[in-house]
């Protein structure tokens, strides 16, 4: 194996694209290095992207926040402005692993590892986040939900690397939340995870809503019907019940050691309602 420290995005892309065999970008490495140590991956080349200055920054402009793909979870959690604007996204990143993992792991890596249970992914999908990808064919911007295509598989092409996660500008009276169900409070993997992001009109009517679920299908899923069930309502019990039914209908889980498919489907509706209540409470108090 060759270990390469890329000094620029172009250098990283060139090295990844030139590899004959498996090539991986290395950001936090908390999945990649474990897979290498276990012999599950034997890359020809690993390209460390952490020394590319543009990938180490969180910036904000009229298009929203841009989180460089080599910014670790601990740094994101310490960014007060980002946390105040997108608390659900930041909390979803923060629940991943231990402090030791937070010092290295990145949400872009969480996305690229493509675990169905990746905590940050439903929150980013609910937020309407996109990723900026650079590859041999140039630069493109893609919704987060289009990256994972199955367990461990992404839509990234050879030589492509995610350089930033983009969170859109926030409307007034908006809130987001991510909640998951795990048997233990920390250091566990979601049995069900739900991200909810909504905005209210001046009279408290829901004007926009996005709901995404994790750990209940081969990839995290946007559930458009759940969001539609909330829009135009006061997010009351009837609307929540209708949206919860859409969440249950979107689930396509497996039985595994963490829970049965039936259990996951039932739990998804419960976790959805709690996440929606939290997002609603945040929307009602935002900007005060």
């Amino acid at each position: 194996m060759e270990y390469v420290v890329a000094r620029s995005i172009d250098e990283a892309v060139a090295r990844l694209a030139a590899a004959q065999g498996a090539a991986h970008a290395l950001a936090g490495g908390t999945d990649l290095i474990v897979q290498m140590t276990a012999g599950l991956r034997r890359p020809e080349v690993v390209v460390d992207i952490k020394n590319i200055p543009d990938l180490r920054r969180i910036t904000r402009d009229e298009a929203g926040f841009h989180i460089g793909s080599a910014v670790c979870g601990a740094e994101i959690n310490e960014h007060k402005e980002l946390k105040a604007t997108w608390p659900g996204v930041v909390e979803a990143i923060d629940v991943i692993g231990s402090m030791q993992v937070q010092s290295k792991a990145t949400p872009a890596g969480n996305l690229c590892n493509a675990s169905p249970a990746a905590d940050s992914v439903p929150a980013m999908i609910a937020a309407g986040a996109t990723v900026t990808i650079v590859g041999p064919q140039g630069r493109r911007e893609v919704p987060v939900e289009e990256i994972p295509v199955g367990p461990g598989k992404t839509s990234l092409q050879k030589g492509e690397v995610i350089v930033a996660i983009n969170l859109p500008p926030r409307k007034p009276r908006s809130g987001d939340a991510y909640l998951r169900f795990t048997p233990r409070t920390e250091m566990d993997i979601a049995v069900v995870g739900v991200g909810v992001n909504l905005s209210l009109d001046e009279d408290g009517t829901c004007s926009a809503a996005r709901v995404a679920v994790g750990a209940v299908a081969p990839t995290a899923l946007l559930v458009p019907d759940a969001g539609m069930a909330l829009i135009g309502t006061k997010v009351d019990e009837a609307a929540l019940e209708k949206a919860a039914a859409a969440v249950r209908a979107a689930c396509n889980p497996i039985d595994d050691k963490r829970g049965t498919a039936e259990y996951r489907i039932r739990t998804s509706a419960v976790i959805f309602k709690r996440a929606a209540a939290e997002a609603l409470a945040r929307a009602k108090t935002s900007g005060r």
Partner: protein, 159 residues
Amino acid sequence: MPKLHITTNVNGSATEFLARPEQTLLSALRDELHLIGTKEGCGSGDCGACSIEVDGRVTCSCLMLAGEAEGKIIRTIEGVAANGQLHPVQKHFLQEAALQCGFCTPGLIIAAKNLLERNADPTETEIRFWLAGNLCRCTGYDKIIRAVQAAAAEMRQSA
């Protein structure tokens, strides 16, 4: 593939070493630098026995390639005591008998010290949350929590 030549700072001293490209920093610390206080438990980032500080953040050295240490400031358990004096966290781990087999202890001390440098007066919940990535199979954790609380109290008094 040739070995990488890595220049870093370990426990306050400029340090150079050679490592294979796929070698973890944990392996390099133990096998190249012979700093065997850092332990390998799971090797997959779950147990925290290999915890070290890298540029002031606590991380698992098994989750890091040796090459990633280039230019970094690293602290291992060997660098926690200073001038022949145990760090308060080390002292109170002994006084509270917060260890039995001792395998998790270097990682716990590194993680607890890092917490107390950020938060001089953590609640029990904050301590338990911060140390959630350090598994101990002997003590049941209560003595560890008490040791960290005692160390925090001593460090606040001397601050």
